[in-house]
Every structure is written in C-alpha cells, then in structure tokens.
C-alpha cells in the first residue's frame, strides 16, 4: 500500500536523471526519496528510528549541499563553466 507505492515513487525520482549541470539537484532528489522511504518504513514498523534516521540524513544533506555548492562556485570561478565535462584534470 502506501509505503510500497511511496518507495516506487522515490525510486522513479531517483534514477531517471543524468544531466550535466543538474546532477547536484538530482542528488538532492535521491536523498529525499530515501528519506521518504525511511519515514514510510518507520510508520509501517511502528518505530521512530526511521524518522530519526531521516532527520540525520537531512542534516547531512544540508552540510553536503553547502560544501558541494561551494565547490561548484570555486570551480566556476576558476574556469567559468559548470559543465562536468570541462573538469578533466583529474582524469588519468
């Protein structure tokens, strides 16, 4: 029922994107999908641990967004582009 459908919904949101610039937003969407499934299973199993875990993942996601956006800004300042294909110095 609800839980299963929600999980489906989350994964449809998770895996169907591979854009160049919007990768970061997609990662956010993935995190949210997982959060949703965590809360759904918390409800299903009558246990608050899932909600606590979702809360923690929100905190970590916030930190991750801050650092990631800072990195994106730094890359943009250096090479005037946010296309991941242009950043190829780390390639072997």
């Amino acid at each position: 029922m609800i839980s299963g459908i929600l999980f489906m919904l989350g994964t449809v949101g998770v895996l169907t994107r591979k854009n160049a610039l919007l990768i970061f937003m997609s990662v956010e969407l993935q995190l949210n999908a997982v959060n949703l499934s965590l809360v759904a299973f918390s409800r299903l199993h009558d246990d608050l641990t899932g909600q606590v875990l979702a809360f923690f993942s929100m905190v970590v996601a916030a930190a991750e967004v801050v650092v990631g956006l800072a990195i994106i800004v730094a890359i943009y300042r250096r090479r005037r582009s946010v296309d991941v294909d242009d950043v190829r110095e780390l390639r072997w």
Binding site: S3, I5, M8, L15, F55, F56, I72
Partner: protein
C-alpha cells in the same frame, strides 16, 4: 484513512510529474522550482505518514534553506540561459533510462516479496505517544544522543569548509587606499563577487 488516500493520490502524481519535469526542463532555475514543488509534495507525504516534525523540517530546511541556496548559486553563476544541452552523452542517456526502469522493476519485485503491496499500515502509531515531536526528541536525545552531537560538529566543519572554498582572496584594502581612491571615480568595491 480514505482521506489520507485521497490526499496521497492527489500529491503522488504531482511529485512524480515535478521530478520528471525537473529532468526534462533546460533552464536551471525552472528545474530548481520543480524541485521545490517536489519537496513540498514530500513534506505532505511526511504529514500523511504521521511525521509532522519531519514535515516542518522538510519545508524549513529543504524547501526553504537548501533551495534558496541553490537558487542563489544559480543566479550567482548566471547559468540560467547559456547552458547548451550538449548531446555528448549519447550512450549514457538510453543506458540511464534502461537502468532506471530496471531498478524500478526490481524494486517493485522486492517490495512485493518483502512487504507486499496489500500490506496495510497499522492503524495506530503507538510510537507517537504524547506527540510526534516529543517522542522524536525522546529517542533523539536518549538513544541517539552521541550521533546528534556528532552532526553538530559536522555542520560546523561544513560551514567552515564552505567559507574556505567559496572565499575569494581579495587584497586587503587599507583605509589609506580608500581615502586615496575616494576622489577617483572607480571606487574599489570590496565585495565584487556579487557583481560578476
């Protein structure tokens, strides 16, 4: 429960449509707005799942803070219109769709085997005794107190890291230079980052 189902079935297509729209739209700002819609739908789902605290946190943190941050960076970088959709990912794109569809099918099978689509949630959510926020606080500050404190350190480190990474090394401007430049037309703007 029927009211819950109605709300769910209203918001489920919206959230899926907004996620798909986020993928297909080219403008980065439009994508961010679609993502906001999606976050609000997820917040409603949290409310349906008897998690009002996470509902509030979702709206405040995600739809508020994180998306403002995203929009801020998008505006700052000015990549709204000049992002050419390059078709370099000719191989990856169909592969990604196939992979996504396969993952969805696999997950459906797993849920059917593990939980079952016909499983009803228990009518009473006993873990929510005395209010969701209170119960959550009891668990958070009891069982999960140490991880909670660790996240505070994580946030502090992330804030410092963001400042270090996004910091533009500006030449220190002395008061004498400001005075000297004040009668010249081009006054050196200290915060030039917002202008570019």
């Amino acid at each position: 429960m029927p009211l819950d189902n109605i709300v769910f079935w209203v918001f489920a297509p919206i959230s899926i449509a907004s996620a798909i729209g986020m993928l297909l739209v080219r403008n980065a700002i439009h994508a961010a707005l679609f993502l906001i819609v999606n976050f609000f739908c997820l917040a409603v789902f949290f409310l349906l799942l008897d998690a009002p605290f996470l509902f509030a946190v979702q709206i405040v943190v995600y739809a508020g803070a994180i998306m403002v941050l995203f929009l801020f960076v998008i505006m700052l970088l000015g990549v709204a219109s000049n992002v050419p959709v390059r078709e370099r990912l000719l191989v990856q794109r169909p592969l990604a769709f196939i992979l996504g569809a396969g993952f969805v099918v696999e997950l459906a099978l797993a849920i059917r085997a593990g939980v079952g689509f016909a499983t009803k949630v228990p009518d009473t959510f006993t873990a929510n005794e005395g209010g969701n926020t209170q119960a959550l606080a009891k668990v958070l500050f009891g069982q999960y107190f140490f991880p909670f404190e660790v996240t505070s350190i994580l946030l502090l480190v992330a804030a410092i890291a963001a400042m270090v990474l996004a910091h533009r090394r500006t030449r220190a401007v002395t008061q004498a230079e400001i005075d000297a430049a004040s009668d010249v037309d081009d006054v050196p703007v200290y915060d030039a980052g917002a202008a570019s």
